[in-house]
């Protein structure tokens, strides 16, 4: 009998409740721990992906490198939730949102102190790493 195989389940730390534990892009979580939000770029064709992918469907290779989501993106849309799915009740109210960085878009949440009254579609925002009270990690959007 060999040693028990270690399972890399870093992804279970993503967000308030993660529904995934193992993925080939688990390094995404380590990048978050280092304060970086990262996507992947195909070394063959140069296609950039956010959310990050382990595999490029364009050239069918898995030769990817990480890049940092940096600079600012435009707020595409948002919504403030007054009612939450099971497991997220303690976060209410919160706003989900989408930023457009040009080459890619990022789906996430507005920073906790932002409300719909304080933002508008088209405004420049930045993506920053956020640690949740229960030790989970995600990222949020702040005004640029």
């Amino acid at each position: 009998m060999g040693k028990k195989r270690e399972i890399d389940d870093r992804f279970k730390r993503f967000g308030t409740v993660s529904f995934t534990s193992t993925t080939k892009v688990n390094d995404f979580i380590s990048h978050l721990d280092e304060g970086k939000v990262a996507g992947t770029k195909c070394k063959d064709c140069g296609a950039v992906f956010f959310p990050p992918r382990a595999d490029c469907y364009k050239c069918l290779t898995s030769d990817m490198e990480w890049f940092d989501v940096s600079g600012t993106g435009k707020l595409v849309s948002y919504s403030k939730l007054e009612y939450a799915p099971v497991g997220f009740e303690g976060d209410l109210p919160y706003c989900i949102a989408l930023l457009d960085y040009g080459d890619y878009k990022v789906f996430g949440r507005l920073a906790g102190d932002l409300t719909p009254e304080g933002v508008e579609v088209g405004m420049e925002m930045k993506t920053v790493v956020n640690t949740l009270p229960n030790g989970q990690v995600n990222y949020v959007f702040e005004k640029a």
């Binding site: 529904f19 995934t20 919504s79 009612y83 939450a84 799915p85 989900i96």
Partner: protein
């Protein structure tokens, strides 16, 4: 190649808390369709059972239903595309018949949403989106559609009042549809009345009144090849066009946020196949899971130009007496939205309209009707065009 027709349609009443098991629920829609078609189970060559998974304890409901509906030993299988499952079922039935494999196929849709709580249901529905990258942020269907609403409002000046008008229309017809789960009137003023449940916030800018009602229900559409349809039925309704499309599940992969590309693409395919244009449509059922979804459907299907959906509802053009009646059975908003049963129920409404049998909801002498059925947040799109 001959045509393919619908020879029988049925649905259960859409209700809260159906007092029976899922096989008994499915029987209700099936029975109505069989009585409508006046055929025996021996005439049915295959069945397709459609629903969104994870609401039931029963795995693989197809076999259970085939037994309960008397459809063994004919082949049966389960099919899902979330809220558009039974429209996808119709497309597959069409293909099975066109290929010559079968002559008559039963498409049975069902959902017993009351098996789980409303919050659990939101969580299940939310997991019809991207569970790896979006669900950990606490997403749910109303909030995704609310993002489309905010984008539409920012670009075109659409307002919450425009959306409320769509719900008022739905309730106008929900009151006269004895299959509808929500039979009460909804007035415009309720949306600004803090005492009214309609005004309660869900996900800004959508309020309770902007959201469809969860329900339990079943539907059944009996589909047949031309020769068989003419032999079995005095009043077949023909499938003139079918279109279907998909989009990225993660919103980050999309470019359009003021409409659903799957609705546009499925619509274009269906119009082309049927050889008709939006102006030719006499009556339509569109996927109004939320008020904004109906408004976007007006524009995606070409009933209105982008940004002008608000004028279509503002001028009451989508009422029964208007130029393009839409959801005159109460729609998902008032009739209810038992996920897997919804497409079949929409098809039933249009078939009854084209046969002149829609009772109080009947529009004047329609010849061509359209069904627009979306799965997930614009993840799957299905458009079917029917004619007499």
């Amino acid at each position: 190649m001959g045509k393919v027709g619908i020879i029988g349609v049925g649905q259960s009443a859409f209700v809260r808390g159906y007092p029976g098991s899922i096989r008994e629920l499915a029987f209700e829609g099936f029975k109505e369709a069989m009585l409508d078609a006046q055929i025996s189970t021996r005439e049915i060559d295959a069945s397709i059972i459609c629903s969104a998974p994870e609401y039931d304890k029963q795995r693989s409901p197809a076999g259970v239903f085939a037994e309960y509906l008397g459809l063994t030993p004919q082949p049966t299988f389960y099919l899902e595309s979330l809220c558009s499952s039974s429209s996808t079922g119709l497309k597959v039935a069409y293909s099975l018949i066109k290929s010559g494999l079968h002559d008559v196929v039963a498409v049975v849709g069902f959902q017993k949403m009351s098996e789980i709580s409303s919050a659990e249901s939101q969580e299940r529905m939310g997991r019809g989106a991207d569970i790896q990258w979006e669900s950990p942020f606490g997403t749910m269907m109303p909030a995704y559609y609310a993002m489309y609403a905010n984008a539409h409002m920012a670009k075109y000046g659409t307002t919450p009042d425009d959306l409320a008008r769509i719900r008022v229309k739905a309730a106008t017809y929900g009151q006269i549809n004895d299959k509808a789960v929500y039979r009460k009137p909804v007035t415009f003023d309720m949306f600004s009345d803090p005492e009214s449940p309609m005004s309660g916030p869900v996900a800004s800018p959508l309020r309770v009144g902007d959201c469809c009602a969860n329900a339990d229900g079943s539907s059944c559409v009996l589909v047949a090849g031309e020769e068989k349809a003419k032999a079995l039925s005095k009043k077949p309704v023909w499938i003139l066009g079918i279109g279907a499309a998909s989009a990225t599940v993660n919103l980050a992969g999309r470019d359009l946020f003021t409409g659903l590309t799957v609705g546009q693409e499925a619509g274009e395919q269906a119009y082309k196949m049927a050889g008709v244009t939006p102006k030719d449509i006499d009556v339509a059922e569109v996927h109004d899971c939320f008020t904004i979804a109906e408004l976007m459907a007006y524009e995606n299907l070409g009933f209105a130009k982008p940004g002008e959906g608000k004028d279509l509802i503002g001028n009451k053009e989508t009422y029964k007496e208007g130029s393009i009646p839409v959801n005159v059975d109460g729609g998902l908003l008032s009739k209810g939205h038992p996920i897997g049963a919804t497409g079949g129920s929409q098809l039933r409404t249009i078939v009854l309209q084209l046969r002149g049998e829609a009772g109080e909801m009947q529009v004047t002498d329609p010849e061509i009707g359209l069904v627009h059925n979306i799965g997930g947040v614009g993840l799957y799109g299905n458009v079917t065009i029917l004619g007499r």
